[in-house]
Structures are given as C-alpha cells and as structure tokens.
C-alpha cells in the first residue's frame, strides 16, 4: 500500500529548494504556510505556535547546516514533511554553532489514533538524516527529484 511507505511522505508540493528568506522565523512561517496551502495544516497560527513550543524545549539545528524543527499540533490534519533549501545561510540555534540552509519541517498530528504509522515514517526519515552520506546528498540536491533520490535511494 502506497500510504504506508516512507516515500509517501515525499510531496513536491511542500518542497521548495530556493527560498528567499533571511531569518529562522521567516523560514518557519514560509514552510508552515506551504503546509497549510497543501492541506496538511488547518490553523497556521496554532501550528507555528506549537513549532515554537518545541523549539523552546531544545535545539533543532542538528549541525552541518541542517535544521529539523517539528510541531506536534492539533492544527495538523495530515502528517507531512516540508523541505526547504534557503538561498542564504540563516542564523539558527545548532549543535555546531553553524547557520542553516536546509530545513526539514515535520508536521505531526496531535491525536494518537492512526498517527503511529506516520510517526514511524518520520522516524525513518530522521534516521536517514543521521547518515552523513545521505545528508551530504540531501544538501546538494537541486531539484525535488534529486532530493528524492538522496533520501530514498541510498
């Protein structure tokens, strides 16, 4: 079943590899808006608030210019993964103190019913990002196709 594979999380509609923003806040709001437009989120303000709640609990800049903000929110109607590559490096609290230009914004539904499968898929993607070779390929991907290959075909 397509729904239960990790690749079903990959949606070009919520991927933008050339985002012209200068701050973390702009980047988060831009990607959150994309999620809203594509029908993953039904209340933008509530979702953004929940992202910042998670930010307050600890650093999401995982190093190597990559950030993985995530909001577990009742405003999420469909679990999804927005991926952004910003044109400029933007300041972001990170484990290596470096700025960020690749952002994986996880949208996670707050209810437990039926979301276990999706959480498993997000966990799978997160695990892939822990692999240096995958991360390097992700960072150099110029198109959604290249990004797809970087994430799923290694």
């Amino acid at each position: 079943m397509v729904e239960s594979t990790v690749e079903s999380l990959f949606d070009p509609e919520i991927i933008d590899l050339d985002i012209d923003v200068n701050t973390k806040d702009e980047a988060i709001k831009y990607l959150a808006k994309r999620l809203e437009k594509a029908g993953y989120v039904n209340n933008l303000d509530a979702y953004v608030k929940d992202i910042y709640f998670r930010e307050s609990e600890g650093i999401t800049g995982m190093g190597d210019n990559v950030a993985i903000p995530h909001g577990k929110s009742s405003a999420v109607v469909r679990t999804g993964l927005a991926i952004g590559h910003t044109r400029h490096m933007i300041p972001w609290e990170s484990y290596d103190g470096k700025p960020v230009n690749v952002i994986f914004l996880f949208a996670v539904a707050d209810n437990n019913a039926g979301s276990q499968v999706h959480l498993r898929l997000l966990a799978d993607v997160a695990g892939r990002l822990g692999n240096d070779e995958v991360l390097e390929a992700v960072k150099t991907a110029k198109t959604p196709e290249e990004l797809h290959q970087a994430l799923f075909q290694q």
């Binding site: 609990e57 190093g63 892939r128 822990g130």
Partner: protein
Amino acid sequence: MKIVGITACVAGIAHTYIAKEKIEKAAQKLGDTVKIETQGSIGPENVLTTQEIKEADVVLLATDIGVDKSRFKGKKVIAIPISMVMKSPTGVIKKIHEKLEIPVP
C-alpha cells in the same frame, strides 16, 4: 567492543532516531559491534535482549528523558545527553574506548 544503548529525546519524533543512526555509524567505523534501542513516541523499537545486554562491554544511554535502567544492573553504564551524540558521535565512541581502556583497533 560490544556496545548496547538507548536513545530517547524529549519529543520522541526526530532526535531519538538521528542519534541512533549516528551512534551506529560512528561505532561501526571504529570497529565496534553496536545495537541501539530507540524509545520514541512510537514506543520502544529495536529492543535489547537480555542476552545482548549480558554480552555487552558497555551500555550507552543517550537520553534527555528518564529511562528504566534496571535492566542494566551490574553493567558499566555511560549516560550522556543526546546533544553530545548530535555534536560528535565519533568523539563519544572514542571517549568510551578511553574510559574502558579498550584501544580503538
């Protein structure tokens, strides 16, 4: 060296799984055998067996939340925040080698 361990972060969504991958990759690169149990929002996965724990030289807990340590009674346990793994997975594994006085092959 045989390493078993647990990763667990606050939200249990991302860091838990990234840290698992980072520990495994770093340990394998240094020639160690490794198995990491994840305790995330989807519950425990890749659960350590009694036998695996018994055979391990060291237990690595990379956790930001409390985990049950009763399984590891009598074992050498090294507990660190998950941020250390995120920052320098290879550094963490090397440090364990130093502490246990088992040279990196």
